[in-house]
Symmetry: C2
Subunit: 210 residues, 2 copies
């Protein structure tokens, strides 16, 4: 099979400067909601990129909240991404909703949310996920899968008796955006790209060449 | 709808150190092939991240070739990503095949392929895509969509008479990997993460904590 021949013409939707909400976070919620209504698989999965030694690093993360200030996700603060954010908190987010021929590109800074907010989310998770967060030394090299399974078994026994407590090194980040771009695939690669950039506290809207 | 409650348990497949191909590019081809066979929508779409002013930037790009040296995609060399790569060619790639509960993370350097190789791919594209590549000033701000459509109309008339020629500023990059990680979702967030890192010309295989 020749990969070069994988080619799709995008004909589903259009995006116009006149139709977008003037607040890009509201516009994001609109598209996100359409992704949920369309029953897309994990519509809240996005590619999070950080910087390490002057190189980008990327991984998939799940969006857990959107509010007026930005986009919230949770992780181990000692994970590779956590360490990278502690040195340079510039990040980018990329949401891809292929079935809707849509992409949202976000750039901004990541900041830790409060311990209280992290608690609220941590204790709302199923107990299995709470234990998973306690057990995993995210991104560290491990000798074998069995070590991981054993640690989980021991923890599961332990937390039949006591209640899990959120580890201090596990919590949320909010990404405060300075740029949000909405990309709608169009025919003949004349895609619609509407970009919002924060300039002196106001969102400037532009159309970009595809 | 509460985004925090979007939660999936991954149960489809497993990934073991003993089962992976010792060459990560071959292992990538295996997974990529399974994504094609599974009829995933645009299995060759990936998130490409670059660095601009000490911040990561990300966008979706289509993989057009895999060879022993790496991963090839095409773009306008004057686009934002092209300019960024000319300053810092460290990039990351993220492939997400949600239906297979799989992700591949790649880090490496991007290098221009030869003009001849770019020609071969350019002229293999449908004429509409060739004209699209000629017309679009990728990532530049444009006043309105109609300007774009007019430019395309004029070009379409022109190229009814003459043959399109690949612009010098349009061509391919190959990303030569130094790290490739295969992520297979597993139950209770005990995901399998097998990482290949290039050390002194050899691929070192490790399992990472999920």
């Amino acid at each position: 099979m020749n990969i070069g021949e994988l080619r799709q013409d995008y004909k589903k939707e259009t995006l116009d400067e006149k139709d977008v909400n003037q607040n890009p976070i509201e516009q994001f919620k609109l598209w996100f909601n359409e992704a949920i209504i369309s029953k897309l698989l994990e519509p809240n999965a996005f590619c999070l990129s950080t910087i390490h030694n002057n190189s980008p690093e990327s991984r998939i993360v799940l969006l857990k909240e959107i509010n007026d200030n930005g986009f919230v996700f949770f992780t181990n603060y000692n994970s590779a991404k956590g360490k990278q954010i502690s040195i340079n908190n510039n990040v980018s987010l990329n949401f891809l909703w292929l079935e809707l021929e849509r992409q949202v590109r976000i750039e901004g800074v990541a900041e830790k949310i409060s311990a209280l907010e992290s608690d609220i989310y941590f204790y709302s998770r199923p107990i299995g996920s709470q234990i998973g967060a306690i057990v995993s030394e995210q991104s560290e090299i491990i000798e074998s899968r069995s070590i991981l399974e054993e640690a989980l078994n021991i923890a599961e026994q332990k937390y039949k008796i006591e209640k899990p407590i959120r580890p201090e090194h596990w919590g949320g980040y909010i990404v405060k955006p300075r740029l949000i771009e909405f990309w709608q695939g169009r025919s003949s690669r004349l895609h619609d790209r509407i970009s919002f950039e924060l300039v002196d506290g106001s969102w400037m809207i532009s159309r970009l060449s595809p």
